[in-house]
């Protein structure tokens, strides 16, 4: 998987600091990471380590302070639909129906390339990918948290992104719903072969979904502490995996990193 196309997404010595008056806070320092096309990468770390900041940098929602970020050789310096984001709290527009939320994205991205009928079919196709066609006419306030997150994924997928960025997408969901959605994401990844980057603080989630796990050190000035390859063949089954030696080993490695070498220091600020 790693051999086909080198340097699809290239993060080169990226640093990020926030300036508040005269106070400068280094959030990320010297991030170097190369992600291949079609790869699924999980980014894990304790809260406050700058995981979300890293994702926002890739999304283009925040600017890098130094260093460079390139997607297919082109520098990333603004947000755009080719790097769609599934936000932590779904971020659906509450005054639009499920269908219209996806439509907003589809109409914007495909206004020139698809006809009205094609766009309609494309919206329904994407809702179908996350099994949400039945709620197309409901508003986000009328559906459950898990469903909202599904729609958020559908909206992101509908932009046909080169890279799909997921910012702790299942953090606020209960364990059963979360497992359901993890399966859905794995299924979509298998079918579409998207490049996906997912922020998580759940060790099992990281190991189950990812080809590689990027482990972040604690902030301030957090950086990549370790990268772990998860060489478990796909499709992966969560039940069979529970006792799989590779899975257990990967899980242990991540746990060791998080709780032995980079323990979360309470009240660091």
């Amino acid at each position: 998987m790693t051999s086909t196309s080198a340097k699809y997404l290239h993060i080169d010595r990226v640093c990020k600091s926030f300036t508040n008056g005269s106070k400068v806070t280094d959030v990320l320092s010297d991030i170097r990471l190369t992600i291949d096309k079609g790869e699924f990468v999980s980014i894990i770390g304790h809260s406050g380590c700058g995981k979300s900041t890293l994702l926002n940098l890739i999304a283009g929602l925040t600017d890098v302070t130094t260093g460079a970020l390139k997607l297919e050789g082109r520098e990333v310096n603004a947000p755009g639909p080719e790097r769609a984001v599934v936000f932590q709290n779904h971020s659906l527009l509450p005054w639009l129906t499920v269908y219209d939320n996806v439509k907003l994205a589809v109409n914007k991205v495909f206004s020139a390339t698809k006809t009205r009928a094609e766009r309609h079919d494309w919206i329904l196709h994407n809702l179908d990918l996350v099994q949400m066609t039945h709620a197309a006419d409901k508003r986000p306030g009328e559906i459950s948290g898990g469903m909202r997150q599904r729609v958020g994924i559908a909206r992101a997928l509908s932009m046909e992104p080169k890279v799909l960025l997921l910012d702790e997408p299942f953090g606020a969901l209960d364990a059963l719903t979360r497992a359901h959605l993890q399966d859905a994401v794995m299924d979509i990844h298998a079918r579409l072969g998207n490049t996906m980057i997912m922020i998580t603080h759940d060790v099992d989630e990281a190991v189950l979904l990812a080809d590689r796990i990027v482990m972040m050190t604690n902030g301030p000035a957090a950086t990549i502490g370790e990268v772990l390859d998860v060489a478990i063949p796909r499709p992966r089954d969560r039940i069979a995996l529970a006792s799989h030696p590779d899975y257990v080993r990967a899980r242990e490695a991540v746990l060791r990193f998080l709780y032995e070498r980079h323990r979360f220091v309470e009240a660091a600020e």
Binding site: A59, G60, L61, P79, G80, P81, R83, A84, V85, F87, N89, S91, L93, P94, W95, L104, A105, K108, V109, R139, P140, G141, M159
Partner: protein, 294 residues
């Protein structure tokens, strides 16, 4: 303790013997009608009683020979035509109060409509830019406290005509709460929605219509509601000074010809119209911003 408690429990268990009995269904429709009737009575009766009591006190208090103000009964005997037929036309200056209210409302429509459009646009710009906000906000905070009529002389001097002057006074009175509320609403747009707009690369106009207006709608409409109330206050006062056929001028005219009972009827018209305007904008607001609260 716990052992005893455990042992004693089985003795109590063979108990459930109660039969399920269907209760006779209550006559639903009659009950529903009665509930609606009592609901209406609960809303209408208290204000009606208060009104009757107030009218009675008024009647008794001003019945004396020396009293300078008319009683409700004299209002009725002298101005019944104004109350009963709001839309009569006897001549260019002798028309029903309904027509006068409509003339005033027309001016309000122009002034307030203009204030709504300009206010929302200016508010949106200020809400988007922290720097603009810092620059303009103190000035607006001062200007908004200027009483409506204080604008009138300047307005007359600028427009040289009473009609645009009255409209300008309404405009300048109503615009401040609209600007200030819209700016607050725009600043309160969640960062999430802004991120969505950024990822989708919505342009300024798309952002305005698809994110800003629906998201800030509750704020915008509370500003519009305050604005329409102020407009109504301003037009009555402005018409007293500028003349014409509006309800405000009617009051001034009635005062000059000592028709106190007419003034009292006009006050009731003004109060009811203001109330209806307020409710109307409030209602439009709830309809438009439906589903905004998650």
């Amino acid at each position: 303790m716990s052992v005893v408690a455990l042992k004693s429990r089985p003795a109590e268990s063979p108990k459930p013997e109660a039969k399920v009995m269907a209760l006779p269904a209550p006559p639903k429709s009659r009950l529903a009608i009665r509930r609606i009737l009592s609901d209406i009575a609960g809303r209408v009766l208290p204000p009606a009683v208060v009104l009757v009591v107030l009218l009675a006190i008024w009647q008794v208090a001003f019945s004396g020979q020396t009293s300078g103000l008319p009683t409700p009964s004299t209002v009725w005997t002298e101005s019944a035509d104004l109350i009963l037929d709001p839309f009569y036309v006897y001549g260019t200056q002798d028309i029903g109060l309904g027509w006068r209210v409509l003339t005033s409302l027309e001016r309000v429509a122009y002034g307030f409509g203009l204030a709504a459009v300009v206010g929302v646009l200016v508010g949106a710009i200020l809400g988007q830019s922290a720097l603009m906000m810092r620059g303009f906000d103190p000035i607006f905070q001062v200007l908004r406290t200027v009483p409506p009529l204080a604008w009138l002389p300047i307005s007359l001097a600028a427009f040289m005509d009473s009609r645009p002057s009255a409209i300008f006074v309404i405009f300048i009175t109503a615009i401040w709460p609209i600007i200030i509320n819209t700016a607050a609403g725009v600043r309160a747009i969640p960062q999430d929605y802004r991120n969505v707009a950024a990822v989708l690369r919505l342009n300024q106009i798309e952002f305005f219509w698809k994110i800003m207006v629906p998201s800030a709608a509750p704020y915008i409409f509370s500003g519009l509601r305050i604005g329409v109330g102020l407009s109504w206050l301003a037009i009555v006062a402005a018409e007293m000074l500028t003349g014409g056929v509006g309800i405000g001028f009617f009051i001034w005219d009635a005062w000059n010809s000592s028709r106190l009972t007419d003034i009292i009827v006009a006050l009731v018209y003004i109060g009811i119209t203001g109330f209806v305007l307020d409710r109307l904008v409030g209602w439009i607001g709830t309809v438009v911003s439906r589903g905004t609260a998650t």
